[in-house]
């Protein structure tokens, strides 16, 4: 058994936006040009009239997957707590949405759903009986800036990161062990092994600020300051800068949020993985071989192989959004980016 390759159709969002690839074209691309069978979808991007698709759509989806002999690996599901606008969705309501998403995933043939890392653990537990009944595994995402295990990392107190519980993986493992259920686990995202900002993100940020030298300062010095300190020092040094908070955070990234060694302890709980990447470039001196220069794939994949992981890594291309402000002729080609990513996945598997 070996690591399996798949694609999250998230990767082709740009081509879908411009009407260049339908979801059927995307599935065919994975079969015919990547020569593999793993498919992951974003529910709301693919399922026409989510959450009430027609019978025709559901059959068409299963039929298309069958036509190309594909495997419906994971369906990514969401939690919009402002849906009702007159009140914040309660946890019980959030569980209802998740249960409905699980039933929908089963209907489309998916083996797993991916709830987001911000979904409270009691919502996951409330949906567990439905996951069991439908035989769909729930894999909660470990997304940057989360670690796998918190260890002695401090829980952030400001920004988006403050809303993320750094003990998330422990909570999931505890739930799985306490209930003995195989239907709850995790979806680690390779973004947790990103150790510097991507070149496309740096270029985007510089194009959209009055103080590009502040970006250079952050890139050079972020390792010397804590996450709160960097905001303060940038404000002191460049009082007129207009960088949004999350742009400063994005530029200040200088270490992986997770330790790849921690993967060894969670292998049986991994439902599938997100192969996040931003830009695949040719490795110097190795024609035809590609890497993402800001994410470590080699170390985690070596560990996954050593531990006998035989699940799917599904490509999740995200660099396109930092290149959509420069005109049509400068848009990247997602198909080519994903093909390069699969060169790397196949080589490291």
């Amino acid at each position: 058994m070996a690591i399996k390759r798949g694609v999250s159709l998230y990767s082709y969002q740009q081509e879908q936006f411009f009407g260049q690839m339908s979801w059927k074209d995307q599935i065919r691309e994975v079969r015919e040009n990547l020569h593999t069978d793993g498919i992951e979808i974003i529910d709301e991007a693919v399922i026409r009239d989510y959450p009430f698709p027609s019978e025709e759509f559901c059959f068409d989806f299963r039929n298309t997957m069958a036509r190309y002999n594909m495997n419906a690996v994971t369906m990514d599901v969401y939690l919009d707590v402002h849906q009702f606008r007159d009140h914040v969705m309660t946890h019980a309501e959030a569980a209802e949405r998740l249960k409905n998403d699980i039933r929908l995933a089963a209907k489309l043939g998916f083996k797993n759903v991916r709830p987001l890392c911000l979904v409270p653990i009691d919502v996951i537990e409330a949906a567990l009986p439905v996951a069991e009944e439908c035989n769909v595994r729930m894999g909660k995402e470990i997304h940057a800036p989360l670690p796998i295990f918190k260890g002695d990392k401090p829980q952030p107190t400001t920004g988006m990161a403050a809303a993320l519980d750094f003990r998330m993986t422990e909570q999931i493992l505890e739930l799985a062990d306490r209930t003995g259920s195989k239907h709850v686990g995790i979806v680690p995202d390779f973004g947790i092994f990103q150790y510097k900002p991507s070149s496309v993100a740096i270029a985007y940020t510089k194009r959209h600020t009055n103080t590009p030298e502040a970006v250079d300062f952050i890139l050079k010095n972020s390792a010397n300051y804590g996450p709160d300190e960097i905001h303060q020092i940038v404000r002191e040094k460049y009082p007129n800068h207009d960088l949004p908070l999350n742009a400063v955070d994005r530029m200040a990234l200088h270490e992986m949020s997770a330790n790849p060694e921690d993967l060894r302890k969670i292998i049986p709980y991994i439902v599938s993985m997100h192969g996040k990447f931003y830009e695949m470039t040719e490795i110097a001196g190795k024609p035809g071989q590609y890497e993402d220069a800001c994410i470590d794939y080699e170390t985690p994949m070596r560990i996954l192989k050593e531990e006998g992981f035989d699940g799917y890594i599904n490509s999740e291309y995200e660099g396109q959004r930092d290149q959509q402000d420069m005109g049509y002729e400068n848009l990247p080609d997602s198909r080519e980016q994903v093909r390069r990513h699969h060169e790397m996945l196949a080589r490291l598997s």
């Binding site: 998230y10 969002q13 879908q16 936006f17 411009f18 009407g19 974003i42 529910d43 709301e44 991007a45 026409r48 009239d49 989510y50 959450p51 009430f52 969401y78 939690l79 919009d80 707590v81 402002h82 849906q83 009702f84 606008r85 007159d86 009140h87 914040v88 987001l116 890392c117 911000l118 979904v119 409270p120 403050a162 809303a163 959209h208 949004p244 999350n246 396109q320 959004r321 959509q324 402000d325 420069m326 005109g327």
Partner: protein, 152 residues
């Protein structure tokens, strides 16, 4: 994301109702990689040639229904704006826009989230005013467009 493509370039036109020009409209796409429950759509920051047109002058047309105010859109909590679909933003302006080129600044507000956030209760009471960046979804900047008014 999709900064330059949120408004379709050849879509700006005046709106005529009962023989009178009552405003203008343009076609938009969602600034996200997924669709959204329609109720989450919270309006736009719109600036045309230096004049701002606040949310109470805006209506939104989607899913084959007549243009709706954002107060009405707010109640569409089981209807979905599909990722693939174009919507039309209607702006009330007596006499509409003049012929020729116009500079439009746009920020779309979608209250999509990935879970619970500290500002949730506040957003129920006081939803963010589009333009501040809060609730701006995946494209936080105000995107700029040079558009020519099309003949209807």
């Amino acid at each position: 994301m999709f900064d330059q493509y949120l408004i379709r370039k050849d879509s700006l036109q005046n709106v005529t109702e009962d023989g009178k020009v009552t405003g203008f409209k343009f076609a938009v796409r969602i600034a996200d990689y997924r669709g959204c429950f329609l109720s989450l759509h919270n309006g736009y920051y719109i600036n045309v040639d230096g004049t701002e047109y606040p949310r109470n002058l805006q209506r939104f047309e989607i899913n084959g229904k007549a243009p709706r105010s954002f107060e009405e859109i707010k109640t569409a909590c089981w209807e979905h704006w599909n990722y693939d679909d174009e919507g039309w933003v209607y702006v009330t302006k007596e006499g509409g826009l003049s012929k020729g080129m116009h500079k439009i600044g746009l920020q779309q507000s979608i209250l999509a989230q990935y879970g619970y956030m500290p500002w949730d209760e506040e957003w129920v009471k006081n939803p963010p005013v589009p333009g501040s960046g809060a609730g701006a979804g995946k494209t936080e900047t105000i995107c700029q467009f040079d558009l020519e008014l099309q003949e209807c």
